[in-house]
Symmetry: C2
Subunit: 115 residues, 2 copies
């Protein structure tokens, strides 16, 4: 990685939102979802956070927002091709995080070092 880790910070700016990865997971496994469907798929999320996280992802061109001009309103969200390039990275992060959880609770891994 580069000395200043600017890329790392840019990536974090995209994925570090509390609900971001779960939003992307659902859009990844469902191809496209409406606002209300996403809301129901994410127990605990408020409508404000869902809206702002979706706007943020849209700003970064990770997802696409399709508005159907009708009453009642209908909006669909899906991952863009560019957004799909993020999925392997999220996959890696998920795997490392789980492996890390295993590692840190493993007593045999404790390092004894003399001072």
């Amino acid at each position: 990685m580069g000395k200043k880790c600017t890329g790392v910070e840019k990536t974090l700016a995209v994925v570090s939102g509390k609900w971001t990865s779960m939003i992307l997971y659902h859009l990844y496994t469902n191809e496209k979802l409406r606002f209300g469907e996403l809301r129901r798929a994410l127990p605990g999320i408020t409508q404000k956070m869902l809206t702002s996280d979706l706007r943020e992802l849209e700003k970064h061109r990770i997802i696409e927002r399709k508005v159907y001009p009708q009453v009642p309103p209908k909006v669909e969200y899906c991952i863009t091709d560019h957004g799909k390039t993020l999925l392997p990275l999220l996959e890696q992060m998920d795997e490392w995080g789980d492996a890390h959880a295993q590692q840190t609770l493993d007593p045999s891994a404790s390092t004894i070092h003399s001072i």
Copy 2:
């Protein structure tokens, strides 16, 4: 990735600190560094943030803290073997972030979609 993205969140808990990736970069390219060396290597960081980020990384067993009981005090930090498993992930994040920056400023990538 898993439905609940618990791994992603665990990873973020480790690497999302503002200075974390740069701390690891320097410990990766330098093998071991003293507190003051790290401080000088990271222009802009405060002593408080360096201390707390180092403590956090130590808690997760990403780095090791070696205290030499002498006056004046001497403390050395280095990456653990477990911490080294994080480096490929940071590398990926750095690459994706830079590529993403390219993508988002590329005008030809703008998607025109009818509403």
